[in-house]
Symmetry: C2
Subunit: 248 residues, 2 copies
């Protein structure tokens, strides 16, 4: 079963993320609808994507102590983390596939926020001391094969000894019966258990379908093996964690 | 273009309404997702469907003064209106296509709440002094041809001189550009402008697609003509209204 990674800048009619953030900032209290390929719909508020550091998940707050040097904030959204780091004196480049989110990050003051992919950064021979995949952005790995490719790509933009801080939730910890069934269905199709094929919908906008990976700590360790990253430790918070990896 | 009226009791995997009401009563603050056939998604809270009379739309509160005798509450849901009337001494029969909603209406004390259609009531030769199509339940008419058929069927369960109280919102009053485009698209397919082909989704449940009619006052008058109902007046509240019809 082929993996469907979201790996290009979204067209305007696909930019549900950008529209959600724009409406949130306009005080409209929008509700994000996430549709899974088995017909399940999830709904949620958008406040976390603009929350101040004191309201972040504990593992993300702890991860901030490990940031150093020049930072690449992958999937930076409206600049939740990137802006916070910039205000604390870090040199931060933000990347996101949502042009709307990037426009907001820039308006909010992020000096270098780009609608684009890590490949663009590789092409320009840029190097970073810290790479961030926070806010569940381990999800961007999408699956096993694409995940390894992506980690190798991230290794190319990190300096030797550079850090990768990558956050996820263990999908097997406290999984509901419905989640267990979906995971079983994934395995039957040769996918990792914690992959979810999703699209985000908001009003008349919908992203393409793409695979979001939730990985256990063991799975993340196995994925990283041989990609140029050495797994150093986990910052744990129940099912949630931030993995700390070092560029070998 | 054929009309798709929701005209049978929902199966468990289709009963998104029932699950929403059940979770609302359990304090879960569920969000209802309504998907339109052009890809638009609407989200909303479910509180109105359980609101006390003082929180109802003004036109619905005013309509209550016109209720008399034995009442058929069509699309009664969890008994918002039916229970209120029953507590004020009316003999009320509630009908809904959602078995979950009916189970809740019964638990909340509604003496006669049935998962079924108006056709069942016709078959049993029951007669009512007042028929209610409130909470936007003019929507159940679905379109022009199905709407006329449905009004004729409702006329068969009303006593001569009986009343029909039917609520809607004028879809042309303050329509957005997106709404105007959808209305134009409807007309091009031979549908009334204010029809919306929708399905309700909640978690892994989805109703079938069905047509919901929003009608202007003039359109409702034209639909009722020749169906056994005489249009008497409108209780107006901006774009919203309750039409008061009398069985000829």
């Amino acid at each position: 079963m082929s993996e469907r990674r979201l790996a290009r800048v979204l067209a305007p009619h696909e930019d549900a993320f950008g529209a959600l953030l724009t409406d949130h900032l306009a005080g409209k209290r929008p509700i994000e609808v996430v549709e899974r390929d088995d017909g399940f719909v999830f709904t949620g508020a958008t406040g976390y994507w603009l929350a101040p550091r004191r309201a972040w998940w504990p593992q993300e707050r702890r991860a901030m102590r490990l940031v150093r040097g020049r930072v690449l904030d992958v999937g930076c959204g409206a600049g939740r983390i990137g802006l916070d780091l910039q205000e604390r004196g870090f040199d931060v480049v933000g990347l996101d596939l949502s042009p709307g989110a990037i426009a907001i990050a820039r308006e909010r003051g992020m000096a270098d926020a780009r609608a684009g992919t890590v490949s663009d950064t590789v092409r320009h021979n840029e190097r970073f001391d810290t790479v961030l995949l926070l806010g569940n952005n381990v999800g961007l790995l999408g699956g096993e094969a694409s995940g390894r490719r992506y980690l190798r790509e991230l290794a190319r933009v990190a300096v030797p000894g550079g850090r990768l801080l990558a956050g996820s939730f263990d999908p097997y910890d406290g999984a509901s019966d419905a989640a267990l069934r979906y995971q079983e269905h994934n395995r039957a199709r040769g996918r990792m258990g914690g992959v979810e094929r999703l699209r985000v919908r908001y009003r008349d906008l919908a992203t393409p379908w793409y695979d979001v990976l939730f990985a256990s700590r063991e799975e993340l360790a196995a994925l990283a093996d041989g990609t140029g990253w050495i797994l150093r430790r986990f910052l744990d918070e129940g099912a949630g964690y931030v993995a700390v990896l070092e560029r070998g």
